[in-house]
Symmetry: C2
């Protein structure tokens, strides 16, 4: 490592530049077609230097994945602050998510599980980042249940609602790709319209029945 200390750019800064370049290239080419040559070129450094910093193409992808997953989680957490009502927290969290996807489309392509799962380590990392997001949303919904006056709920209700929300938001990022002009605010509003009332009903213990079952 001592040979790196001589370079003008400090290691942490250089690493971030390489990850920036990796995200651009992985998002455009996909994992298999992406080359470390092109990533090095984008980062403006030599290929051996890229290997020295981040070890392998897989190492580059994992570093990109981890950084962007943490970034998305941080953005979500910062938006959905506990001081607000559950309703406003959910709205803020969704808006932060859709804004992130709009503004960092390349990051989202890397994070999105559809982008391919090239190795067991990457598959595991993608699953980990998804679980972290699901845990975050489950916690938010659980806090909402705890704060509400509704009857006691089955313990897995918060988790069920979180899977529904995360799946819906995930799928809507594909819809966004087909409607690039749609602002994140409008997508958030439409999703809130669709899930908020129903979510409240579920959490308040109201039960939908098929019309034919009604008296």
């Amino acid at each position: 490592m001592s040979d790196i200390r001589r370079r003008r750019v400090p290691r942490p800064v250089r690493e971030q530049q390489i990850i920036d370049a990796a995200i651009r290239v992985f998002a455009r080419r996909g994992y298999h077609a992406a080359s470390v040559d092109e990533i090095a070129e984008h980062a403006g450094i030599s290929k051996p230097m890229v290997y020295l910093y981040l070890d392998s193409k897989e190492g580059l992808f994992l570093a990109a994945l981890r950084r962007e997953a943490e970034r998305l989680l941080a953005v979500f957490r910062a938006a959905a602050v506990p001081a607000h009502s559950p309703e406003l927290r959910l709205r803020a969290g969704l808006l932060a998510f859709f804004t992130f996807v709009t503004e960092h489309r390349d990051s989202w392509v890397v994070l999105h599980r559809q982008s391919s799962e090239p190795s067991p380590a990457i598959t595991a990392e993608l699953a980990r980042s998804r679980r972290a997001l699901l845990a975050e949303v489950t916690g938010l919904v659980r806090a909402d249940i705890a704060a509400s006056d509704g009857p006691a709920r089955p313990d897995d209700d918060a988790e069920f609602v979180a899977y529904t929300l995360v799946g819906a938001a995930d799928s809507l990022t594909d819809w966004m790709a087909l409607h690039p002009g749609e602002p994140p605010e409008r997508i958030t509003l439409r999703l809130m319209n669709m899930v908020w009332v129903g979510m409240r009903n579920v959490l308040d213990g109201e039960v939908w029945t098929t019309p034919s079952q009604l008296p």
Copy 2:
């Protein structure tokens, strides 16, 4: 082909047996670790015969994917019959979906995009089957809008609702893997609880606003 005619089992039957075996092996091992040897063994025929029928490991996966995608779509269509009200059609379609996933977990692992995307042809086929399902659900929601008394809706509303529903249902299949005892009927009921009222509100043109925006 004349050498096949001599065999006791007719070609279409044999092909279905090979596909059955392929689904079992792909679901358990994943695409990359699955071997044509094991698939042949499960199907009870020789490996060269498997290649003769379905060409390659990729060919086997594509045949499995196409057959199960059509099966799922057929099950969904048969359940969501136009004669019923939109509410009952949605419930029946969701129930058919969750029942399929419960009863044919191996098929779902092959269909689920998380199962990996080993080649461009397979990625394209997965995307095609997802688009077909989205188109089906969009059509259902659009028919619902046309039949309702609500105000005229933006043309992309049905598609937005369909992406939300398909994403939520997709994500809930992961939740089901964590809760194997949960019957499809209960999952359907909980999802209906969560989305039905909201979906009606969106389609009837009611707009949710953040509480702070209210007078």
